[in-house]
């Protein structure tokens, strides 16, 4: 090997990643070449100096404890940490009572699957409207349940429109929302008493809201006054919980 070749292999050699044959060839060259030896030594010292100056940190005690609890717990939490540690805004002002129920349920649920599928296809609305009352009215003779919509504060989520839909063979109302580039779909259908799918549930206002994530989408589900709601979006669980929390209680 000549100097040019050694130079090409130098980094790999210093990192100990050369195969045995090439390594020996480089070593042989270095034994007889002062300048290559100096370069090799320089590389080595540089990497060692950097490593020595990057401190090893110990994880803080509270993090260590949290991780320990995660690992010993039989039931597994699915919520990201931010949501667990009170990322909901004005939680105190709303006097939110947050209770966590760990439920291990089967991930497969036709309602979730179909809701996510429809949301991802973004079907055209049959009624374009930005007023919840107009939408509720429109559904009056189209479905055999009364569609009651949460009113998300103006400036948070704009109503885009609505259309008829079906979820797991049931009639459903599909209402679409947007916030900038974000898209949301709210499905409403009659409550048949089924268990809500969702791996983690949390209380928001007087509602018990259950969370699932599927194919990268977040799905929140809850029941209220004879109806079941399925709220699908691209956003994080934390953001969607916040949106829901900020919606009016009057529905």
């Amino acid at each position: 090997m000549d100097c040019a070749e050694v130079d090409r292999f130098l980094q790999v050699f210093v990192d100990g990643e050369l195969d045995e044959q090439d390594r020996q060839l480089v070593e042989q060259h270095l034994a007889g070449c002062q300048s290559c030896r100096a370069r090799s030594e320089y590389q080595r010292r540089f990497i060692a100096a950097v490593k020595a100056r990057v401190p090893r940190h110990s994880a803080p005690e509270h993090l260590r404890e949290q991780v320990r609890q995660l690992l010993v717990s039989e039931k597994r939490p699915f919520l990201p940490r931010r949501l667990l540690w009170g990322s909901l805004p004005a939680a105190a002002a709303l006097a939110l009572v947050v209770t966590f129920t760990w439920t291990v349920t089967s991930a497969f649920s036709p309602v979730i699957d179909e809701a996510v599928q429809q949301h991802s296809r973004q079907p055209r609305v049959e009624l374009a409207a930005n007023d919840p009352a107009a939408v509720e009215n429109w559904f009056r003779r189209k479905v055999d349940f009364h569609v009651a919509l949460p009113s998300f504060g103006s400036g948070k989520l704009s109503l885009v429109g609505a259309r008829l839909s079906r979820l797991a063979k049931r009639q459903a109302a599909l209402v679409r929302y947007a916030s900038g580039p974000e898209r949301y779909s709210l499905f409403v259908f009659a409550d048949g008493g089924q268990q809500l799918p969702g791996s983690v549930c949390q209380r928001i206002h007087s509602l018990r809201v259950c969370l699932t994530e599927q194919r990268g989408y977040t799905v929140l589900m809850w029941r209220s006054r004879g109806l079941v709601y399925s709220f699908v979006g691209d956003a994080t669980p934390g953001r969607m919980m916040k949106l829901l929390a900020s919606a009016s209680r009057e529905y």
Binding site: P55, L71, E74, P80
Partner: protein, 216 residues
């Protein structure tokens, strides 16, 4: 509690081995996020995810690499989004600027290695320089030089070919050395004895640094 038997022993081993990686993961998380609070969130989320996908881990394979892979993915998918403003400046532009400067100055440190300037540096200087490396380079330097993963392991963690690992490592180290050299000069740790510098280059890099410091 846990039932007896092979499955629960496996679970226990997984938990113990995973827990042993906590400090390592946290240190890297700090270098990636630059902030303790975010680093804690990242590590916690990593463990949550690791437990959720525990069944996908093949026992006998490298758990450490598996956990790091999970953390890096989480970081690039979720945490990066929130730092979008910062990342644009850490992108191709900065890379090109720094590499152009490096090329013009013909960094002589490698040709005249009498000055082991980097041994005069303090921890915080090096940490800061690493945290300012563009993300692609930073990741490889952290994983190889600090966490001592092999090229093959890094290729698997970052889901890139080994050749790309090698080239990013090479360029990343050069950028790091160049940045540290500039810094050492500015701070007076060393004096410029060899190549005369073009005025422009110094101004470029200093001005760039100043712009970065003021957050523009």
């Amino acid at each position: 509690m846990f039932g007896s038997g092979k499955k629960s022993r496996k679970n226990k081993m997984f938990s113990e081995d995973a827990a042993a990686q906590l400090d390592s993961l946290y240190t890297t998380a700090l270098r990636l996020t630059g902030q303790p609070a975010e680093a804690e969130d990242l590590v916690h989320d990593t463990f949550v995810r690791a437990l959720r996908f525990r069944h996908r881990f093949e026992p006998g394979t490298n758990l450490r690499a598996w956990l790091f892979k999970m953390m890096v993915n989480l970081f690039t998918n979720n945490y990066r989004r929130q730092r979008r403003g910062q990342d644009i400046s850490h992108g191709a532009e900065q890379q090109a600027l720094l590499e152009r400067n490096y090329a013009r100055q013909k960094l002589h440190a490698s040709e005249q290695p009498e000055e082991f300037f980097f041994e005069k540096l303090f921890s915080q200087d090096v940490v800061q320089a690493i945290e300012q490396l563009p993300l692609d380079f930073r990741l490889v330097v952290l994983l190889v030089d600090i966490e001592e993963f092999s090229y093959a392991q890094v290729a698997s963690i970052l889901d890139i070919p080994v050749g790309t690992v090698m080239s990013r490592l090479h360029r990343g180290r050069k950028l790091l050395r160049s940045a540290l050299y500039e810094f050492a000069l500015e701070e007076g740790y060393i004096k410029e004895t060899t190549q005369k510098r073009e005025q422009d280059n110094t101004t470029d890099l200093q001005a760039y640094r100043r712009r970065k410091k003021s957050g523009t």
